[in-house]
Symmetry: C2
Subunit: 446 residues, 2 copies
C-alpha cells in the first residue's frame, strides 16, 4: 500500500499564475530553492528533519492527470500555452538534502531543489506541506523520547490529527523519532510500523459488568490482553483484573497489561502496581494515557511512577505547544546568479549552501558552519545529493535505518539541548564566504 497520492492541484493558485508568466517569457533557467526553518519555536532546542521520503516520491511521480489539465484549461484563468506546458511537465531537477532523522537548526537548508524555474516553483506548496509537518512532529516526538528512555511510547493521536494524511504522517514521524509504534492501523501496511491498542471505554460500558467485559476480551484477543481499568473506579478495576487472572491463567492466557486513562496517573499507578503485585501479577505492565505530553511524561518518570509505557496522542500529533514551524522555501539562485529576499524581518541567505557539523572528543555536537557548497570546511557535511535529473540516486532508506539515524543523532545532542526547557543556543556560524555573497548580492541590487 502507498500513501494515497494527491492532486497536483493541491497547490497555491499563485504557483500557476507565476508559471504562466515564466512560460510566456521563456524563464526556464535553472533555479535553486532551499527549504529551511527561520527560527525555533519557544522552548525548543533543535529540530529533527523528516518528510524527505514523501517529498521525493512526490517529485518522482509528478505529472498532471488529464482530469486536472481539463480543469486548468476550463477554469478561465489560464492560456493554452500554460496547459500545454503542464501537460509535458515532469520533475527533471536535482535534490540535495539532509537525511531524515538529522538534528538541525534554523537557517540550515533541509532540502535544496535545483531545477528549471517553473518546476522548482510549482512544487513549493506541496514540498513545504510534506516537509514542514513531519519535521514538526518528529521534532516534537523526540522530546518525549529524550525524557522517557526505556519506556514504551505509542502514538495515540490519529483521531485528533488534522485530517487523514496528518494521522499517517504523524505515526511515521514519531516512529522515526524513536516511538515504539502507533495506534493507527494503516501505518502497519503503509510503513511497517508496529501497532498497538486493545479497548476503549465504550467496550466496557457496552457490557453490564466490567469483569465480564475483561474476560470476554481476553478470550477474543488472547495474545494481546491489556485491560482498560478506569471506566468506573481504577483500583476496583485492578482488583477485578487480579480476580480474573487465575481463571485466564488456567486457559493459558496471560494478562499483558492494564491501561490507566484518567485521574492522577502517578498515584493510580502506584496503587494499581501494589494491587497487581499482591495479586501475583508482577509481570503485568502498566500503560498510561490521557492528555499526555512530554512534560507530563517527564514528571511521571522523574517521580518514579511505576508506569511502563505511555500513549501520547493529540498534544504530540498537533504539536500543541508549537503547532507550526516558521519555515520557508526560498529562491537562492536563478540563471547562475545568487538571489536574496530582503523583506523586513524575512531576509534570507543567498546561494547553494552546505552545513558542516563539528563534534567534540565525547562525540557530542559542538557547532555547525553554514556556508556555500563550494567552500569546504572541517566537519561532517550534512547535505547530500539524493536525486539527479529527476531520478533518485539511492534505493529509499528503510524507516528502520532512518530511525537508527535519529537515535544516534539524538545521542549526540549536547546536554544543554536535551532538556524540555530552552537551553543555550546551539552555535551555527555563518561563514565569511556566505556573508560576502550576501553583501555582494545586496550591493548589486539584484
Amino acid at each position: 500500500m502507498n500513501l494515497p497520492s494527491t492532486s497536483l492541484l493541491l497547490t497555491d493558485l499563485y504557483q500557476l499564475t507565476m508559471l504562466q508568466g515564466y512560460v510566456e517569457h521563456g524563464m526556464e533557467e535553472q533555479a535553486t530553492f532551499e527549504f529551511f526553518v527561520r527560527k525555533l519555536p519557544p522552548a525548543r532546542n533543535f529540530l529533527l528533519a523528516a518528510g524527505l521520503e514523501q517529498a521525493l516520491c512526490f517529485l518522482q511521480d509528478l505529472r498532471f492527470t488529464s482530469e486536472e489539465l481539463e480543469w486548468v484549461s476550463g477554469c478561465g484563468l489560464f492560456r493554452p500555452s500554460l496547459v500545454d506546458y503542464l501537460e509535458q511537465l515532469r520533475f527533471t531537477g536535482d535534490v540535495h538534502a539532509m537525511p531524515e532523522g538529522t538534528v538541525c537548526f534554523p537557517d540550515e537548508p533541509i532540502v535544496r531543489i535545483t531545477a528549471p524555474l517553473p518546476q522548482a516553483q510549482l512544487v513549493e506548496t506541496r514540498l513545504i506541506n510534506l516537509l514542514h509537518f513531519q519535521t514538526l512532529i518528529a521534532s516534537k516526538a523526540a522530546r518525549s523520547v529524550l525524557v522517557a528512555p526505556g519506556k514504551l511510547l505509542v502514538d495515540f493521536g490519529l483521531r485528533r490529527t488534522h485530517g487523514a494524511e496528518a494521522g499517517l504522517l504523524a505515526a511515521r514521524a514519531s516512529y522515526l523519532a524513536g516511538f515504539s509504534g502507533t495506534s493507527a492501523v494503516q501505518a502497519a501496511p503503509l510503513f511497517g510500523i508496529p501497532i498497538y491498542g486493545t479497548m476503549a471505554h465504550s467496550y466496557i460500558q457496552a457490557h453490564e459488568d466490567e469483569a465480564a467485559a475483561f474476560e470476554r476480551f481476553a478470550y477474543a484477543n488472547p495474545d494481546n490482553v491489556v485491560f482498560l481499568i478506569d471506566t468506573y473506579d481504577t483500583e476496583a478495576g485492578a482488583a477485578k483484573v487480579v480476580s480474573l487472572a487465575t481463571r485466564l491463567r488456567q486457559k493459558g492466557i496471560p494478562i499483558n497489561g492494564v491501561r490507566l486513562d484518567s485521574g492522577d496517573l502517578g498515584d493510580h499507578a502506584r496503587k494499581v502496581r501494589r494491587i497487581l503485585d499482591e495479586g501475583g501479577l508482577t509481570d503485568t505492565t502498566i500503560f498510561a494515557s490521557g492528555n499526555l505530553d512530554e512534560s507530563i511524561v517527564q514528571q511521571l518518570v522523574a517521580t518514579h511512577a511505576p508506569i511502563d509505557g505511555f500513549g501520547i496522542g493529540t498534544r504530540m500529533d498537533v504539536s500543541a505547544d508549537a503547532p507550526y514551524l516558521d519555515c520557508a522555501y526560498k529562491l537562492e539562485a536563478y540563471g547562475g546568479k545568487a538571489r536574496r529576499k530582503r523583506s523586513e524581518g524575512k531576509a534570507t541567505w543567498p546561494g547553494c549552501k552546505q552545513v558542516f557539523r563539528r563534534y567534540g572528543p565525547d562525540g557530542r555536537m559542538r557547532g555547525d558552519i553554514l556556508t556555500l557548497e563550494d567552500d569546504p570546511q572541517e566537519g561532517e557535511p550534512l547535505i547530500q545529493p539524493v536525486m539527479r535529473a529527476g531520478k533518485r540516486l539511492h534505493t529509499p532508506a528503510s524507516l528502520a535505518a532512518l530511525r537508527e539515524r535519529a537515535r544516534t543523532q539524538l545521542a549526540r545532542l549536547p546536554d544543554g539541548l536535551r532538556t524540555l526547557e530552552k537551553g543555550p543556543d546551539y552555535p551555527v556560524q555563518v561563514s565569511p564566504a556566505l556573508r560576502d555573497l550576501a553583501k555582494a548580492v545586496d550591493e548589486h541590487r539584484l
Copy 2:
C-alpha cells in the same frame, strides 16, 4: 472531483480488537454514540459545527476493500470470524446532527450515531478525525469573520497545514465560516470555492528588475493583476506600480491590487495608499498577508489601516492558539439502556440527547437546554435526522447554503460572545430529565 477516499484501516487498532470481541459474543444490538466537545479552548466563546458532509460520505461509502481484508486476515492479530464480518460490513445506522454552520457549545451533541454496536464503534476514529478538524477550523475562522466585516478574507494556509487533507478541509471550513475564498487550487474543483493568488517573492527575485517582473506578470495574467510589492522596499515597490500604470492602462490592463507581506502592515498600507492615490490608482486595492491572525486583523481594522483584504494562513489553518478541541465520541446507550462513563474528570451525560435553543426578542441567542430527545422543550431543536438505515435523508446541502447558515448563526450571537477575548459563559442548561437519567444510571451501576 471528490475528496480522495481513505482506507478503512485509517482507524485505531483497538476498534478492530473490540470488534473481534463484539462479533464473537454477538454484541450487535443498537448502540448510540454522540460526538461532542467537552470544553471550549481558553479565550473561545463558541464553536461552529462543521465536517458533517464528509462524515456522511464516509459512512455511506463504508466498506473494506479486498486489499484491506487481505491485510487484516494476514496480520496475525485477528480470527477469520472477524474478517468475514468485515467483508460484509456496511453502515446501516441512523445519524442525527446539527447542520454545519450551527453555533454550538460544550456538551452539546454535534453528531449522533445509532447503529449496531460494531458499526458504531468502528467509525469512531475517522468520524472524530473529520468532525474535529473542520469544527476546529470553522470556529477559528469565524473569529476573523466577526472582526473584519466587509473585508476580503482569503485562506492562505495550505503550505503549513498538517498534510494534504488538512489543506483542503481548512479551505472548506474557513469558507463555510465566511471567508471569501482560498489560495488552494484544488478547493475550486472539489468544493466550488473561489480561489485567489498572484505571485510570490521568488517571482520578483527571478527577474533582474522588480518593475520588469510586474510588467511581465500583467501581460501574462491581465485579468488578475495584484503585485507583491515588499520584496525589496515596499514604498519603492508602490512607486514602481504607479509608474507602470499608464503603460498598462493603454493596453487595457487595470492594476487590481497590491499585496504587502512584511513589516508594519498598517504603516506601510497608509504610505502605499497615499502613493497609489497620488498616482491616480484610487481603485487599486491593498491586500495584506504575513503571519496574520484574527487579533492582528482586528487591530488593523480598529486603527483604520487602509487595507481591503487579508490573506490569513498558518495561524488559522492550524488553529495556532488552540490546535485541538477536547472532543469525544461516547457511548450513550446500548441495547435500549442508557450508558455513562464516570472516569474522573471525564464523566458524560447518558442517553439520546437534543438541544433546544431560545432566542430573545432581538433575534439573538439567549440560552440552550440540553435534554433527552423525548423531552420536548420550548425553542429551536438543533439536532435533526440526516441519515436513516445508512441512507441520506436529503440531497447534500450546497456549501453556499451552509455558509449562509453560518452567517445567520453568527449574526445571532450575543454581543458578549462576538469578541476575541473570553466573554461571559453562554447558558447551557441541563434539563431535570437528563439529570435524573444520569442519576438512575449511576445508581444502577450499569
